[in-house]
Subunit: 293 residues, 2 copies
């Protein structure tokens, strides 16, 4: 499927590829021509956070591939897989406008056979934070990223620090399995209100959006404490929890302070090297946020 | 490290590579020159079975890499990792004589970091046969094969049907994760006595070697039953167990009849499509064997 570009001068039209075979063949051809490929793996419902990843990918490669795949294996049985926003047409248009070369949007059945039985598991970084409340989530992430890497064969891949633990898991996986893909971290992008951009923000309405600002505000209070000299993890965590708990809409899943790069637990705060990470329920929506302290 | 070839005319000397980095760079260079690479993954202690894999690799590629790595993660805590025969010098000489291009013999610490935490797990094929009595064995196999594939980047890899379940696990893994490596099966090789070649045969002495012949003899009795028209799994299994149990040195770990390709359980025997697989303790040595029925 070809999409013609309107707004920007492009050498070639953006391609939408829907099968692993066609994707592999395209990448093989590009590699053969000496082109550097960067992958931006997404679950679609693209927002400006994703666009910032695309911009970084473009700076680091000749060919930018955006995968759009709502990965069933990273959702738990009672999570929002069915409800997760899907908008391939708008996503493709946004990618095209941003200068993406290929949108890779495979079907679930072309990625996972009915009798698929192989998983990639990372057992240390995945054990904390979201790994505790979302069992098998990071197994699903590591497996699908491995599959996407094997199909797309990128030289580099860009992951946003909105999902900081996810980047740490992927970095550990790539290191441990000698996967020849450079992992590029992209900074979290916030709305003016401070709310971290997320496809799940679409679930929020009215007063919920107002409440959602508290996440970044609570993190900023924690950051201020560290700047003012408090390096005690328990005190900073407690204050962030306290800030969040002022809204009755919010139920805290976790607030943790971890190493900014590895997402592993730390014993004390080293300013600039630690990250406060949190997950909450805001009514029926699970939100995460994080900030380097 | 270079080894000069004496017996056969060779274009270049065989290389012994000991670091993942040097191995990756060599493969990258060969791929850049359009050379097809075949990998023969081994744990060393090479015998004629391995040599047959090398011959098949040579027929399927321009460059043959033999990895020699006694993989710690596929041994259980009470298994023979420490005792496993190691003979790199003799292995390299045998490879050189057979026309191998590269022996890749990395240290354990260059493959596994102390805090390695990523594994590749296959959960269906691995659940039967040796997977039951060797927990985590196939996790270790799938993980190290993934790592070797990522370092060596072969176009093809040759695995012997001596470890038929292992080949099935690797085939499933390669399929599920879209790993771009052709898996080539090589037939099991036997001594004149019928004993399947295995590095662990080095553990056997005197009367044990005589007893070890019973494994292939028992499988042949099973095969004859099928040829004579008995397609009942339970009867054929029972007769193989009966044959093995005639020696007091032998303790049966399992005898199973499975699909010859997938190593998954079958409900009835289809001649030529099923495999009898067995594992036994012969005194202190664990032996496996299998035969297509």
């Amino acid at each position: 499927m070809l999409v013609n570009s309107h707004k920007y001068g492009r050498r070639t039209a953006m391609k939408i590829i829907q099968t692993p075979k066609e994707m592999s063949e395209f990448s093989e051809k590009m590699r053969g021509e000496g082109k550097k490929i960067a992958l931006v793996p997404t679950m679609g419902a693209l927002h400006e956070g994703h666009m910032s990843l695309i911009d970084i990918a473009k700076k680091n490669a000749d060919i930018v591939v955006v995968s759009v795949f709502v990965n069933p294996t990273q959702f738990g049985p009672n999570e929002d897989f069915a409800a997760y926003p899907r908008s391939l047409e708008a996503d493709a248009a946004a990618c095209e406008e941003r200068g993406v070369d290929v949108v890779f949007a495979p079907s679930a059945s072309s990625i996972y056979r009915k009798d698929a039985s192989t998983y990639v598991v990372e057992e240390e970084v995945s054990a904390n934070l979201c790994g505790k409340s979302r069992p098998n989530h990071f197994r699903g992430v590591a497996t699908v990223v491995s599959i996407l890497f094997n199909i797309v064969r990128p030289h580099a891949a860009v992951f946003g620090e909105k999902d900081a633990q996810q980047v740490s898991v992927i970095e550990r996986m790539v290191r441990d399995l000698f996967i020849d893909v450079e992992i590029i971290r992209a900074p979290l992008v916030r709305e003016k209100s401070g709310l971290a951009l997320s496809s799940r923000n679409k679930y929020l309405h009215g007063a919920q959006l107002e409440t959602a600002r508290r996440l970044s505000q609570a993190l900023l209070v924690g950051k201020k404490m560290v700047e003012d000299g408090c390096l005690n993890i328990h005190r900073v965590k407690a204050e962030i929890v306290n800030q969040l708990s002022r809204s009755s809409r919010i139920r805290v899943i976790y607030v943790e302070i971890v190493d900014a790069k590895t997402s592993l637990p730390v014993k004390e705060i080293v300013p600039g090297k630690c990250r406060a990470a949190l997950a909450v329920w805001l009514d029926q929506t699970r939100l995460i946020d994080n900030m380097v302290l």
